[in-house]
């Protein structure tokens, strides 16, 4: 019995992970199904766009601004080892729009939005507001999940686009004030080396990350345990799951978009 105990523990863990993947997959399919079937709650969609998009702008903007600045310093210091300091503008731009903008922006939005969605919906569940929705002939997934997931999928790419721009601007400011770049040359280098696909691939990543963020927030909120501890656990799980899925899907998307 004791010899098999570790094997049983591994088996239990594996089954639990597979069951969680199954539940999340079913939840995702249900969400997609409700997205295409009426009724549609446009007012709730607009509110979600404001909460997820507009109110995340400062967080994403500050994150990418400082990242762009630090990136310029790092590339300058690294490039100086083989006399390649002039690549700073182009590498900052490519690095921001392909990777750092979407990933860091996505992670910051995950921290802000997945937690808030999970806490809000979890509290609604604990206080029977979800049951109340059902008794008022309103499907909780249509009313709560669909607007949030749809809004995040639509607005996170826009946030990423703004974040990319601010990040490049951060690099530009550091470049011209600290690294003695000529302002016009810096902008020309940025524009010349940046391709449309660099930008669109980052925005596509943003859409996927937005979908993941809101989906995890809603899933863990809807499945929240009882009481403050249950809501706290749901909130933490939503952020952790969203962050890991963002990093994992970022690798897969990069492989898909840029592997030879």
């Amino acid at each position: 019995m004791s010899v098999l105990a570790p094997v049983a523990a591994v088996g239990r863990g594996t089954l639990a992970i597979l069951a969680a993947i199954g539940r999340i997959t079913i939840f995702t399919l249900q969400t997609l199904g409700h997205m295409i079937r009426p009724p549609f709650y446009f007012k709730e969609l607009f509110q979600a766009v404001m909460n997820i998009g507009y109110f995340s702008l400062p967080v994403v903007g500050l994150t990418t601004f400082f990242t762009g600045g630090a990136l310029a310093l790092q590339i300058y210091a690294g490039g100086a080892r083989f006399n390649a300091e002039s690549v700073v503008p182009s590498i900052v731009a490519i690095g921001m729009v392909r990777e750092l903008g979407p990933v860091l922006g996505g992670l910051m939005v995950a921290a802000r939005v997945a937690s808030s969605i999970a806490a809000e919906i979890g509290t609604m569940k604990v206080t029977e507001q979800i049951d109340a929705l059902v008794t008022l002939s309103t499907h909780p997934m249509k009313y709560l999940t669909v607007p949030r997931v749809l809004a995040a999928t639509l607005v996170v790419p826009a946030l990423i686009a703004v974040g990319d721009t601010i990040g490049i601007m951060g690099g530009y400011i550091v470049g011209i004030t600290r690294l003695d770049f000529n302002a016009a040359n810096y902008i020309n280098n940025t524009v010349d080396f940046l391709q449309t696909w660099d930008v669109t691939s980052g925005l596509l990543k943003g859409a996927v990350f937005g979908f993941i963020i809101a989906l995890m927030g809603c899933y863990y909120g809807m499945n929240s345990g009882r009481g403050a501890q249950g809501v706290g656990h749901a909130t933490k799980s939503a952020v952790v799951a969203a962050s890991i899925l963002i990093l994992a899907s970022n690798y897969l998307l990069t492989e898909l978009f840029f592997s030879a």
């Binding site: 009724p39 709650y41 609604m124 206080t127 029977e128 507001q129 049951d131 109340a132 059902v134 008794t135 008022l136 002939s137 309103t138």
Partner: protein, 248 residues
């Protein structure tokens, strides 16, 4: 008429309902009493389809609740939740008019607001409350708003889940009176779950005692004190000795 026939429900190894059989005639006010954790809320939520029974059938006017068209079915119900379950993000009038602002019962916004204010007035709240948010209200006011929401769409059947929990005795009395008045006035079928005996006497036409997952006694509220049922006697008199095990 609402009928529960041999309804069973378990959560894991915890058998909550073990064969509940109960009939609530149309237009009557049935109060289900019983200790905490005896399955009163589960029985009520089973009728609404919020909980799916493992076994047994539940019918409303002869229709199996698992086979009805959900929207039309739920449009017949109003429910007052234990904690009010008001939506924090919506103002009081939007909570009350929730059903009237969307779905099959949708009305123009102004009309929905007017109805909401009228219902708020019916439960003793002034129109100024309409634009406040639930967090700005006291517990008693939240219950009243919950009650106004439950009756906003003139339902045929109203459920009350622990309507006086957390309220002081005077406010409890006010809510009990309101419930009784509204149920009589609307001619609605009512199902209330509570362990507040003052509520039972104020609200009920009939009483059912749920214990250990089954209905131990059911009858008219007037017969409750002379039932001779040891479970009911112990419960209504709040005695610690008797067939119901009281953990100290």
């Amino acid at each position: 008429m609402i009928t529960l026939d041999n309804v069973h429900k378990s959560f894991g190894s915890n058998k909550v309902l073990r064969g509940v059989t109960l009939t609530i005639p149309r237009g009557e006010s049935m109060v289900i009493i019983g200790g905490s954790g005896t399955g009163k809320s589960v029985a009520l939520k089973s009728v609404l389809g919020l909980v799916t029974p493992d076994q047994g059938t539940i019918t409303v006017d002869g229709e199996d609740v698992t086979r009805v068209e959900r929207d039309a079915f739920l449009a017949r119900f109003g429910m007052l939740f234990q904690g009010g379950a008001l939506f924090d993000s919506l103002s009081v009038w939007q909570n009350v008019a929730f059903r009237l602002l969307r779905g099959s019962l949708k009305r123009p916004k102004d009309e929905a607001r007017e109805i909401a204010i009228e219902k708020l007035r019916r439960v003793g709240l002034k129109p100024e409350v309409a634009d406040l948010f639930p967090a700005e209200l006291s517990g008693g006011m939240q219950k009243r708003v919950g009650l106004a929401r439950a009756i906003a769409a003139e339902p045929e059947i109203i459920f009350f889940d622990e309507p006086t929990t957390g309220l002081d005795p005077i406010m409890s009395g006010v809510i009990n009176e309101l419930i009784r008045e509204i149920v009589v006035e609307m001619g609605a079928t009512a199902m209330t779950i509570t362990h507040d005996m003052t509520s039972v006497r104020a609200i009920a036409d009939k009483v059912a005692m749920l214990h250990d997952g089954v209905i131990k006694w059911t009858g008219n509220v007037a017969d409750m004190d002379d039932s001779g049922d040891p479970y009911l006697d112990q419960f209504i008199h709040g005695r610690s000795d008797g067939p119901i095990e009281a953990v100290r």
